[in-house]
Structures are given as structure tokens and as C-alpha cells.
Amino acid sequence: MVEERLSREDAELVAGLRAGDEAAFRALLQQYGPGLLRVAQMYVSSRAAAEDVVQEAWVGVLRGIDRFEGRSSLKTWLFRIVVNTAKTRGVRDARSVPFSSVEDEGGTVPPDRFFAESERFPGHWSVPPSSWAGVPDERLVADETLAVVRRAIGRLPEAQRTVITLRDVDGFDADEVCNALDLTETNQRVLLHRARARVRAALEEYLG
């Protein structure tokens, strides 16, 4: 079977899975499990139902692994299996926020960071962000910094939180997220941008 379009890492995981290697399965679960659980939760109303969807989907993955030809990335293939499993299980009923309506909220950076229209450089930074290039790596990747990120994501409105989690935490691409959430490309981007801007602001407050 030809898999020249798969990354080497994906190809190794697929080969391991076909050989019944538990370590390969654990690695897959670690890498894609949480993201796929979140995808399932978009479609069903309870956490228990989402876990059932995930279990059924993974069984589908194992049964189908011999037929996986690597025409898409492993992640995209897993994503589709979870979405299809969730869709055949039930109508999407969990969503409490209508993702399709995105209100105009104005700018994502507080207006007092810019010069006012009456001033000499209207719309340009009056309080510009500083560079983080001087922040030591140990501080950037410290648990405390990640905790700031998690807290900021946790405080976002639901639609923004869902989009940034799927895009930036789980690494799904824009098309996949639009598809899973029935969002237009524009609304997906607006929600993602607002979410990132708020998380950035929280980091700025913490890192300076």
C-alpha cells in the first residue's frame, strides 16, 4: 500500500497499528484523542454520549486501518470518522450558542492603545506592544504561562472557546472547523481572531 503523502510519523503510526502495536495506539490516543473527543462533543448533548461516539469511532478506525490509503493526513481521516460516527448517532442538539450569528463587537484591541482621530497619528499605537523576544524560553513554556493560556481560553465565550480550541490547541485546519461547526469561513476567522486577541492580551498582562 502506498503512503507517500503521509508524514513519516503518521506512516509509522499506521504501520504500528496494523501490526497490533499497543504503543502505536497509545501514541495516537495521546496525540489525537482529546481533540477528537472535543469534536464529538460538538454533536451530542452529553459527555457520556461523546465518549461513546469516540469509542465507536476508534473501533471504526481499527477496522478500517488496513484500507487507509494515506490520501489525506491521518488526522483528517480520524476527524472524518468521528464526525461521520457522531452524525449517524444523532442530530446535533448540544449547541447552546448559535455559532452562525457573529455580532460586530468592534476592535479586538482596546481603543486606548491607539491615538485618537483628533491626534497627530490617528489609529497608530500610542501604547505599542513590546517584543517578547527577550522573554527567556524557560519562562515562555513554563507551567505558569500555560496556565495563563488555559485560564484565558476557559473564560472565552463558548463559540470563541470552541474555535480556538479546535484550531490552535488541537490543530485542526480552517476547513475542518468550518465543516464541524457549520460556520462560514469569515465567521470562523472572526471568532478565532477575537479568541486569539483575548488570549494574547492575557499573556501580555502576564509577560509584559
Binding site: Q55, S131, L146, V149, R196
Partner: protein, 81 residues
């Protein structure tokens, strides 16, 4: 440079996600990149957004242990079937 062609920082910061997704049309993309050449504030903002995205990528959660063991059971059932 004609003033009406010049982007203000206030506009630039709203284009960052579209820029990173390569969703700006070529003219806007060029104006965006031109702006960054002379504006340290916006260059820093773009770098901070990139750092934010990288950090979010490290903020992933782990699978609930109960679900993980269910899935490992399913794997072992499949392997021995």
C-alpha cells in the same frame, strides 16, 4: 506613499488572523507587509500572536483516564479478534 493607502495600526491588528491563514487578497497582503516594515508595534503584535498560537498548542488536555482505558480495551479486543 498616499495617505489613503496607508493602513493604521488599528486596522492592521484586525488582519492578523486572515494574514496568518493566507486569506488576504494580494493587495491587502502587500499593504499589511509594507506596514510591518516600518511599524515595530505591529511587528511585535504579529509576533505575540504567533507566540500565543504556539502556546495554545501546548495547552492541550489529556484524555480522561476512564475513556483511555475503555479505548485500550477496545484495542486489545480488536487485536485478539
Amino acid at each position: 506613499m498616499k495617505l489613503e493607502r496607508e493602513l493604521a495600526c488599528r486596522q492592521v491588528v484586525e488582519l492578523v488572523t486572515a494574514y496568518l491563514d493566507d486569506a488576504l487578497d494580494p493587495v491587502d497582503r502587500e499593504r499589511f507587509e509594507e506596514h510591518l516594515v516600518f511599524c515595530d508595534g505591529c511587528a511585535n503584535y504579529l509576533e505575540q500572536m504567533r507566540a500565543t498560537i504556539r502556546l495554545a498548542g501546548g495547552a492541550g488536555l489529556v484524555l480522561p483516564p476512564a475513556l483511555e482505558s475503555r479505548l485500550l480495551d477496545a484495542f486489545n479486543d480488536w487485536r485478539t479478534s
